[in-house]
């Protein structure tokens, strides 16, 4: 049987986080009553004209810098002409021949732990454009309603080269891009509300063949899981189709999450002729060096740079560093905690943030941004573990109390609940004596060579201290007494 290679390119529409629309002053907030956020420009009254929103351009520049692409000194808005009821002007203002960002790259990570590998996905371009409105089918007594609230919402369309070779790579890219646009604050990444949606161009070719196979484009993938399922199904379909003697025809397909299948929406023959031409209502977009540099100066440290710095500064594994730089909020949280507990606790801090805190947040479906335990509180807690005031086990109790708002700081809770570790060896010794006296059978078993009995005795002592003794100290004292 032939070996097949999968080739995938992705186009992403990221809705930009601007206050107002790309060519009008209407608000872009999601979820308003239909047509309450559509002004004269958005509904395309006769005579109205577009005016470019500088904030949207700023977002594009940030993106260009973040992916190390070229921010075009001059780009041009073009009209893409087609008729549809939710496209009020009969054309979409987009960029065609001269996009605002040319080239660029996104690094993705594949695998886990020691098998972690990296791959660079090249970007072709990113361009600014306006979104269309929505057709609300069957919502109005069988008639189609038109909601133009979304019409004119700014989008950045980000296009990759056909660089991905599996659905896993495609999803890794989509996730990395999703994290990046949120990181640089240009998109809220809300996939359910359509703020971040992907189209995947998928083709297959026999391994070793140079030419690409014919691609089909899967439209509007609005979750990573659907992306994976859709690509996997599509790849299987294309391979089966070719092996059955068929030929893949260029087409646009939709993924049906219920059936898990893709089905053709329109073939190349029905492709529109969009009659692109430069929009005469808008001047070419000129971005001078100054604007780029001012934007660069205001950029946050980017994920890859931050990850490398975490490895170097905090002696973290690449895996931990990647987990801590999955989003800017997590990274900021981590560094704020370190600022309190000190770099010496960097590894335990990484564990707490990526394991304990993450699990707790996950359980209540919360984001780190609204964690009940602040970074300063967690840092304070880690400092008490580091100076042996409490054990790791007690720390979990303190963490839970902080989560429930039982105190303003770890110190306050330790004090209030009397959780301070007992380190006075005299006090521990007298407790040990009491435990040995109360459990002669266990002592006999230990002396007969049963190591298990020793652990049971340690447990008894810890229980008597309510967990507050230093387990290592208990061990040593017990062994010398029994010795």
């Amino acid at each position: 049987m032939k070996q097949w290679e999968v080739v995938i390119g992705i186009e992403t529409h990221a809705q930009l986080l601007t206050q107002s629309k790309i060519f009008s002053g209407s608000s872009t907030a999601f979820g308003a009553q239909p047509n309450t956020q559509a002004n004269a420009v958005d509904i395309a009254l006769p005579g109205v004209l577009p005016v470019l929103n500088r904030q949207a351009v700023e977002c594009a520049i940030r993106f260009g810098l973040a992916v190390d692409g070229q921010v075009a000194p001059k780009s041009v808005f073009a009209r893409k002409n087609y008729f549809y009821p939710d496209l009020p002007k009969g054309y979409q203002i987009s960029q065609f021949e001269l996009p605002v960002v040319v080239g660029g790259k996104v690094t993705i990570q594949l695998g886990e732990g020691d098998n972690l590998t990296e791959k660079t996905i090249q970007l072709t371009r990113a361009h600014l454009e306006e979104d269309a409105g929505k057709s609300l089918h069957e919502d109005f007594n069988g008639k189609t309603g038109i909601d133009l609230n979304r019409a004119g919402t700014p989008l950045l369309e980000i296009v990759t080269e056909p660089d991905m070779r599996s659905s896993a790579e495609a999803v890794a890219y989509a996730k990395a891009l999703h994290a990046l646009v949120r990181w640089i604050g240009i998109c809220d990444g809300n996939m359910q509300e359509g703020s971040f949606r992907c189209d995947a161009n998928v083709s297959v070719r026999p391994v070793g063949q140079k030419e690409f196979g014919t691609r089909r484009e899967i439209k509007n993938l609005n979750s990573f899981r659907f992306m994976q399922q859709a690509i996997d199904y599509e790849v299987q379909w294309q391979i089966a189709h070719i092996e059955d003697g068929g030929r893949v025809e260029q087409a646009t397909v939709l993924f049906d999450p219920d059936s898990g299948e893709t089905r053709a929406m329109r073939s190349k023959e029905d492709a529109h002729d969009y009659r692109y031409f430069p929009d005469p209502d808008l001047l070419p977009l000129v971005i001078d060096r100054d604007w780029v540099e001012r934007t660069r100066a205001a950029m946050p440290e980017l994920p890859v740079a931050k990850r490398d710095r975490f490895v170097a500064d905090y002696q973290l594994s690449a895996y931990d560093a990647a987990a801590l730089t999955a989003s800017l909020d997590v990274a900021d949280y981590y560094e704020a905690a370190i600022a309190v507990c000190g770099k010496a606790a960097s590894k335990s801090c990484a564990n707490w943030v990526t394991v304990d805190l993450a699990a707790r947040l996950n359980r209540e479906d919360r984001e780190i941004g609204d964690s009940p335990v602040s970074a300063a509180q967690l840092g304070g807690l880690l400092a008490r573990i580091a100076d042996h005031t409490i054990s790791n086990n007690i720390a979990k109790k303190v963490f839970e109390s902080l989560w429930n708002g039982e105190g303003a700081s770890a110190d306050e809770i330790i004090e209030k609940q009397g959780l301070k570790q007992i380190t006075d060896s005299g006090a521990i010794e007298s407790l040990i004596d009491a435990v040995l006296a109360a459990n002669p059978a266990m002592v006999a078993e230990f002396k007969a060579g049963k190591e298990k009995a020793f652990n049971a005795l340690v447990g008894q002592v810890m229980k008597a201290t309510k967990g507050k003794a230093n387990p290592q100290q208990v061990n040593e004292l017990l062994r010398s007494k029994l010795g």
């Binding site: 395309a44 009254l45 005579g47 004209l49 005016v51 009020p88 002729d273 009659r275 209502d281 808008l282």
Partner: protein, 493 residues
């Protein structure tokens, strides 16, 4: 009173010789009497006009008058006017009452001017005779069997017939200058970007420019002072310091007021062979005007605009291309005409647009869609844009050796209604002298320069970018030395 200029009417209002309400009433009565014959107005709403006049009188009483406060003006029906039917000469917008004001209307309103009515025009400004209007042809007041020119034919006829002291027009390929020439008016198309296009229904966005139409350069300057100005809602509007376009008109330079002015005469208009592109009668009047300019002290310079002959073909690629896209919003979905019966979405589009647009508009949409389509774009649209640059460069070179370029406005005087309606190419050639000015984005004027067989002819003056004040002065000096612009038609009393 009705033969007075805008500045004279402004004085009459200032001296309380007449009130705005009385003046408005006077014009409304003339409109009621003559419009059924001339068809210059699509919409007249006396109660609205009189309410504005009353408010203007109150402003004047409060001492807050500007030169245009209380002056009734006719507005081309291409400007969105809040609360007024705004049809753009089309059945498509036959039910469109605008919910907002165009920038131009806002500016006139702010100045306290009164809207007398909305004037007839070629449908979506596509035409040179005003015969493509869904609301019927407009008659030329100088000869009711002839066209007034277009597309601002309603505005031209209204002012020529003294149904309004002045009017607004828009000019995409000659739509202010050609009707001004055919109706014995003074019309100015400013530099592209001087007057905001916001609220002016787009025909060809990169060429459209609004301007005044009146009896004199002086009146045009007065109107332009109100119309011009930066508008942040129009990205092609130019952010320049405001200027007084009348500023050069009052200076007295003595016997040779235009001494030192270099007037360029393009070989492409005046060469021995090229003269035949214009009717001999009109050419004769233009020659006489040139002689008059020499009297006024101007120096004549031979110039060449070698790519002039390409302007009509380039224009008829670029303008329809932009129009085909600009007119896509008229789809029957949100406002405007929708066919009463249709099967599905595509049928609704097809029928609404088939029934809502007239033949000339459909012709240009088809041409535009064709030249933009895949495989033809480079050969037509891109090529036309290159020609456009060449034409603009020709003018830049010419203005190194002259200050103003002079020529005929239109190759003929007003033609008969119906005479060219069946021959679009013949009709398109009506704008052969005016189109290059739009392609280059320059200011251009037409002023009356005499009569041929009783019909007025126009002289075109073309200036360098932003030279409106100079252009108006060059026109004004000629009007001080001639009376052509003071002639009034006999057909309408």
């Amino acid at each position: 009173m009705i033969t007075r200029s805008v500045s004279e009417l402004s004085q009459a209002l200032a001296s309380r010789e007449i009130s705005s309400v009385e003046l408005t009433q006077l014009y409304l009565e003339r409109i009621a009497r003559h419009n059924p014959q001339i068809n210059a107005f699509i919409t007249v709403a006396p109660e609205k006009s009189l309410a504005q006049a009353k408010a203007a009188d109150a402003l004047r009483a409060a001492g807050q008058a500007t030169p245009l406060t209380g002056i009734p003006l006719a507005q081309k029906d291409i400007f969105c006017t809040k609360g007024w039917l705004t049809t753009c000469g089309s059945r498509m917008l036959g039910n469109f009452v605008s919910p907002y004001d165009a920038k131009v209307i806002e500016q006139f309103n702010a100045a306290g001017a009164v809207i007398l009515g909305k004037t007839n025009m070629d449908e979506f400004a596509m035409g040179s005779s005003n015969e493509t209007s869904y609301y019927g042809a407009v008659k030329n007041p100088w000869d009711l069997s002839r066209v007034p020119g277009g597309s601002s034919g309603g505005s031209a006829a209204a002012v020529a017939a003294l149904l309004a002291p002045a009017a607004t027009g828009t000019d995409t390929g000659g739509s202010i200058r050609q009707p001004a020439a055919l109706c014995n008016l003074t019309g100015l198309k400013p530099t592209y970007g001087v007057v905001s296009r916001y609220g002016m229904i787009a025909f060809a966005s990169s060429l459209d420019q609004a301007g005044p139409m009146a009896h004199s350069a002086q009146d045009c300057a007065l109107l332009l002072n109100t119309m011009a100005g930066f508008d942040e809602r129009d990205s092609t509007s130019l952010d320049r310091p405001p200027e007084d376009y009348s500023r050069e008109l009052s200076t007295n330079a003595g016997g040779k007021p235009l001494a030192g002015l270099r007037i360029g005469l393009p070989r492409e208009f005046f060469g021995e062979a090229e003269r035949s592109g214009c009717s001999p009668e009109v050419m004769q009047l233009v020659d006489a005007a040139i002689a008059q300019y020499r009297e006024l002290g101007a120096e004549l310079v031979d110039i060449s605009l070698p790519n002039m002959k390409l302007s009509v073909p380039a224009y008829y690629v670029i303008a329809p291309a932009e129009a085909s896209s600009n007119l896509s919003r008229f789809d029957g979905v949100r406002y405007g005409y929708r066919a009463p019966d249709y099967d599905d979405l595509n049928d609704m589009y097809a029928k609404s647009r088939a029934q809502g647009f007239g033949a000339e508009v459909k012709r240009r949409i088809l041409i535009g869609a064709y030249v933009l389509s895949h495989g033809y774009y480079d050969a037509y649209y891109l090529q036309a844009q290159r020609i456009r640059r060449l034409i603009a460069n020709d003018f830049v070179a010419a203005f190194k050796v002259c200050d103003v370029i002079l020529g005929p406005t239109s190759p003929s005087t007003a033609f008969k209604l119906g005479e060219r309606a069946a021959d679009p190419v013949q009709m398109y050639l009506s704008d052969i002298y005016t189109i290059a000015v739009n392609l280059a984005g320059l200011p251009g004027m037409s002023i009356p320069c005499g009569f041929a067989s009783g019909l007025p002819a126009g002289l075109q003056l073309i200036g360098d970018y932003f030279s409106e004040a100079k252009l108006l002065n060059v026109a004004h000096r000629y009007q001080q030395a001639s009376t052509w612009h003071q002639q009034r038609p006999q057909a309408v009393d």
